[in-house]
């Protein structure tokens, strides 16, 4: 190994320190950088057991040879280690890739930008490397305080007089035996188990315990300013808990605030501050933190979401709707939809504002949420969307109108009967059936009687007859039997199709009056008609039994 190779290795370390900051660990460039520099290290360690780098303020040496020099204290790689007291770094033969990758991760940490209480030495110490050893100048961190001095120790030592020592000695033979002290108590498996259980629970509980501590502190605050400081920390705690996906902590804190409000636990000024915390929970800023956890792939249980929903009021709906529009994963959207369903129930007016969003999929989601809520008022807000420029929205809006049997929307449905999209037209027919007014029936009958009806697909025409069958009144019965009995010499194939559809409707209606004619049609030459008539006939027979 020559020094040129080592210099090259250090240069690569310097580059890696910058490069790795730019990419997540899963990025191929990150992986490639780590792989390449690790290969270099292995080559260097091929013919020796260790590489020792010694750090000066601006220089790095190995075996007394200068390998690196940069006097820019912000840029210098040597200074990066030196300032934290690191004086020597040793890489040992046999170092696994994971260990070296961890080392690279540590040195690429942006200590300036990140609010860290750790320095490079602390991170290396915590990682407890087996193949990377280092030497640190521990006096460095005592530069302000000054390391201990011997004089101080001498002062602490003091002097015990001979007289008192000998007095103790004399007394020792006269004094009564001392009271039994504690004996060593053996630890049992139960003791260990209890500690293990407590340790397991501990990280789970830290946030909520801290929240309760803040409430206790609020009782002890000497001034409003001090209380404000504590409440500010309550807010920050909730942000941190949310960032760690701890919606249970957020919900628990909210419950605690509600209790405080109910029992008038605090003076007005403090209560007002707590109200401010609730506002924060409903803010876009806070909801963004929640959204971030969803984007990171956190999946919340439905029950958790239900508990979490109580922190929100109508102020949260806008930010939640906005978040819903941005989420990509199905599970994430499901969580927000669940929240909006619960929160929106009491705040429909706030929720329907989302219907104006330009994103069709978001509008569709909101319509679905409104349907889930099931409040009849929903239909009036959704009705105008039958004219939406996206067919998917139009269709679901029509379905919603049908679901709520919103008859005021008939004029609009009359339009959508002629929508360019067949699925929209079919949804319209189905909605008309559910509205079930005479006007709706007339619209359907007129459409069936229209000359253009034959141009519609079989599926659409079937939907018309299915809708019509839902009335079961004499007008419809006569209309259906009329078709079934109709004869024609010209346009026979069109008539067969109509008869097939009428047989389908008669079956759905269990139209007794059509039994004879249906029986006859079971012997029809045309396969479709014969099959449909047979099916309807069977239904009738079955109903009679």
């Amino acid at each position: 190994m020559n020094s040129a190779d080592l210099k090259e290795f250090i240069n690569h370390l310097v580059k890696a320190k910058k490069t790795l900051r730019l990419y997540p660990e899963t990025n191929p460039i990150y992986e490639k950088t780590v792989g390449e520099i690790y290969e270099r290290l292995l080559n260097l360690l091929e013919d020796r057991d260790e590489i020792v780098l010694k750090f000066r303020q601006f220089e790095i040496y190995s075996d007394g040879e200068l390998l690196y020099q940069n006097e820019d204290k912000h840029e210098s790689f040597a200074m990066f280690f030196f300032k934290d007291g690191l004086r020597e770094l040793k890489f040992l033969k046999g170092i696994p890739k994971e260990e070296f990758a961890d080392f690279l991760k540590i040195i690429s940490t942006d200590f300036e930008r990140e609010v860290l209480d750790d320095d490079v030495v602390t991170l290396m110490w915590e990682r407890d490397f087996q193949h990377i050893h280092y030497v640190v100048d521990e006096n460095l961190f005592l530069e302000d305080e000054g390391p201990y001095d011997e004089e101080e120790i001498e002062r602490v030592k003091g002097v015990t007089t001979e007289e008192s020592i000998l007095e103790a000695y004399r007394d020792a033979f006269e004094a009564r035996p001392t009271k039994e002290g504690p004996t060593i108590v053996s630890l049992t498996n139960e003791d260990v188990k209890a500690i293990v259980e407590e340790l397991e629970k501990e990280p789970e509980e830290v946030y909520i315990k801290f929240v309760y501590l803040l409430f206790e502190m609020l009782h002890m605050a000497d001034s409003t300013k001090e209380a404000g400081f504590i409440v500010e920390h309550l807010k920050k705690t909730l942000d941190i808990a949310m960032d760690r996906s701890r919606i249970d902590v957020v919900a628990g804190t909210y419950t605690r605030m509600v209790e405080a409000s109910k029992t008038k636990e605090f003076p007005k000024e403090i209560m007002a501050m707590l109200v401010g915390v609730v506002s924060h929970l409903n803010s876009k800023e806070f909801i963004e933190i929640f959204g971030h956890t969803l984007e990171e792939g956190v999946v919340y249980e439905e029950k958790e979401i239900e508990g979490f929903s109580k922190i929100f009021d109508k102020r949260a709906i806008g930010p939640l709707v906005d978040l819903l529009g941005r989420l990509e994963s199905m599970a994430a959207r499901k969580a927000v939809i669940k929240l909006l369903t619960i929160v929106g129930r009491k705040n429909i007016e706030a929720l329907v504002k989302g219907l104006n969003d330009p994103r069709w999929y978001l509008v569709r989601n909101i319509i679905n949420i409104l349907r889930e809520i099931g409040d009849k008022r929903v239909a009036q807000y959704v009705a105008p969307l039958v004219r939406h420029n996206d067919r998917r929205v139009r269709r679901i809006a029509i379905e919603t109108i049908g679901e709520f049997a919103y008859s005021n929307a008939l004029p609009m449905l009359k339009e959508t009967l002629y929508d360019e999209e067949e699925s929209v037209r079919i949804a319209t027919v189905s909605a008309l059936a559910r509205i079930h007014t005479p006007a709706a029936k007339t619209l359907i009958l007129n459409e069936i009687k229209d000359k253009g009806f034959y141009k519609k697909s079989m599926e659409e025409r079937r939907e018309f007859f299915k809708a019509l069958a839902s009335w079961k009144d004499s007008e419809v019965k006569e209309f259906i039997i009329g078709i079934l009995k109709r004869r024609a010499f010209f346009g026979r194939s069109k008539l067969v199709q109509m008869k097939t559809l009428a047989a389908y409707a008669a079956g759905l209606m269990v139209l007794k009056e059509a039994e004879d004619v249906l029986k006859k049609l079971t012997r029809a030459k045309e396969y479709q008609l014969r099959e449909e008539a047979l099916e309807a006939y069977k239904r009738l027979r079955y109903a009679r039994r």
């Binding site: 046999g94 609010v115 209480d117 750790d118 320095d119 602390t122 915590e126 407890d128 087996q130 006096n139 961190f141 302000d144 305080e145 390391p147 201990y148 101080e152 120790i153 602490v156 030592k157 003091g158 002097v159 015990t160 007089t161 001979e162 008192s164 020592i165 103790a168 000695y169 007394d171 033979f173 004094a175 001392t178 002290g181 504690p182 060593i184 108590v185 630890l187 003791d191 260990v192 500690i195 293990v196 340790l199 501990e202 990280p203 509980e205 830290v206 909520i208 315990k209 801290f210 501590l213 409430f215 206790e216 502190m217 009782h219 002890m220 400081f229 504590i230 920390h233 920050k236 705690t237």
Partner: protein, 463 residues
């Protein structure tokens, strides 16, 4: 790579060895349960014996395999403890397993190990029993040489006083409103953790040193060290030990808010003054929140500062409205705090209690003021005769406990301060586990005395 694997499996090897020996204690060596434990240990060792010998060594309180220290999870604590104690009792330091190892050899080792318990010279007995077993070598537990020990003491002393010096500096900064570096505080604690892991008994011994003038700083460092020791015994990771040490270091930070005329008052406090004193946990939590950005560590530090006087049964102060479970670290720090405070000379308690008396009082408080399970851990650390205890020996010598013996708590290392002729001396340091050729202990403690009553300055002897 194989070394890394060995390190990872080390805990299982040590645990299996303990299980094998403990099972053989109950059952006959031919019993199927014992056989299974032998099989398990053999299988674990065989993976590594292909590459050479496996050297198993006890150094201090820790096991090393091929010179790497073995860390263990809490679940293995009892087995590790058993093995440490038994190795020490039998003066067994090292066992080397060679590639030719057979299952029968492990059986022979087990027999030799257990039989040695009934002899006065256990190590010699094991060595003799294994003479014919070529695949296992045993070596006696190394005694620390005097000069080596002095070097270690110097290092431990440096760590301790550096920590005191740093604490003094940091508290002054907080008092004057200067910015405090948590990074530096962490480094100080890391240094304590390292020292504790290497020289546990020596560092704990340092906590016996009390300084009336700088009580607050010494107390903070002592509480931090004792807390780390409890945490270490429980098996916390290095990172958690640092966090525990850090929060313990700042547990009394709220006392800086107490007016000096109250804090340094030599006469008993009035009710009004007590009320001020009782606010220091609140002030402590507040100060910590001002000190650093909010994260899990500062949350815990604030909880510890707030809760360290609440007591296990909530009978202490401050009185809380909602009894949420106390933080785990708070319960550890409470024990360390109470013990160190009782054994220190303070303004409002000029005469400290002797260590063994303090421990007795703490025992009475277990289950009331302090967590009973954690207290058990604590007693196992400081021993029946904590460092600094003044003891009379059956040899008519007066001595100070110098270093605890965790394997045999009633037999610590002591410093003779008055010889059997009644003359004041400074040493030697003797180990109470030493036996004469007939197998009887040379010295035994017969009585403890209160070092404070005779104004014995522990620091003079321990530093």
């Amino acid at each position: 790579m194989q070394e890394d694997k060995l390190l990872a499996e080390g805990k299982n090897i040590v645990n299996s060895l303990a299980v094998m020996l403990r099972t053989a204690l109950i059952h006959s060596i031919e019993n199927v349960a014992v056989k299974q434990t032998i099989d398990r240990l053999y299988a674990l060792l065989s993976q590594f014996l292909r590459d050479g010998a496996v050297r198993f060594e006890l150094k201090g309180e820790f096991f090393y395999i091929n010179d790497e220290r073995i860390k263990y999870p809490l679940e293995y604590l009892l087995n590790f403890d058993y093995l440490v104690k038994e190795f020490k009792r039998k003066e067994l330091g090292t066992v080397v397993f060679y590639p030719s190892l057979r299952k029968d050899d492990l059986k022979s080792f087990t027999k030799a190990f257990l039989a040695a318990s009934y002899t006065d010279t256990p190590f010699e007995a094991i060595e003799a029993s294994l003479e014919q077993v070529e695949s296992i070598d045993v070596h006696r537990l190394k005694k620390i040489k005097e000069d080596k020990e002095m070097d270690k003491r110097r290092l431990v002393k440096k760590t301790y006083f550096n920590a005191v010096s740093f604490t003094k500096g940091i508290m002054t900064k907080i008092r004057t409103g200067e910015k405090v570096s948590i990074k530096k505080a962490k480094r100080v604690v890391e240094s304590m953790v390292d020292t504790l892991l290497e020289e546990e008994a020596l560092l704990i011994g340092m906590t016996a040193i009390k300084d009336y003038d700088d009580y607050t700083y010494h107390h903070s460092v002592n509480v931090s060290i004792l807390s780390i020791a409890i945490g270490e015994k429980i098996g916390l990771s290095r990172r958690d030990l640092t966090e525990l040490g850090l929060v313990a270091l700042f547990h009394d930070i709220g006392k800086m808010e107490i007016p000096k005329e109250v804090l340094n008052k030599p006469t008993p406090f009035t009710e009004e003054e007590w009320q001020i004193i009782r606010r220091h946990p609140y002030w402590g939590a507040l100060t910590i929140l001002k000190l650093k950005g909010l994260d899990e560590t500062s949350m815990k530090a604030a909880m510890v500062a707030f809760e360290h006087h609440i007591h296990y049964d909530y009978s202490g102060y401050p009185k809380v409205r909602t009894r949420t479970p106390l933080d785990f670290y708070s319960k550890i720090v409470t024990i360390a705090d109470q013990y160190d405070a009782m054994t220190s000379s303070r303004v409002y308690q000029r005469v400290p209690l002797p260590p063994d008396r303090a421990l007795s009082i703490l025992m009475e408080r277990a289950g009331k003021q302090v967590d009973p399970v954690l207290f058990k851990f604590f007693v196992n650390i400081v021993g029946v005769y904590p460092v600094g205890s003044l003891v009379l020996l059956d040899t008519r010598e007066l001595a100070l406990v110098y270093e605890c013996n965790m394997a045999m708590p009633e037999r610590p290392r002591v410093l003779i301060i008055v010889n059997s002729q009644g003359q004041r001396v400074k040493g030697p340091i003797v180990d109470l586990t030493e036996k004469d050729p007939s197998g009887r202990f040379i010295r035994t403690i017969v009585k403890t005395l209160d070092p404070n009553k005779y104004r014995v300055n522990l620091a003079e002897y321990l530093l």
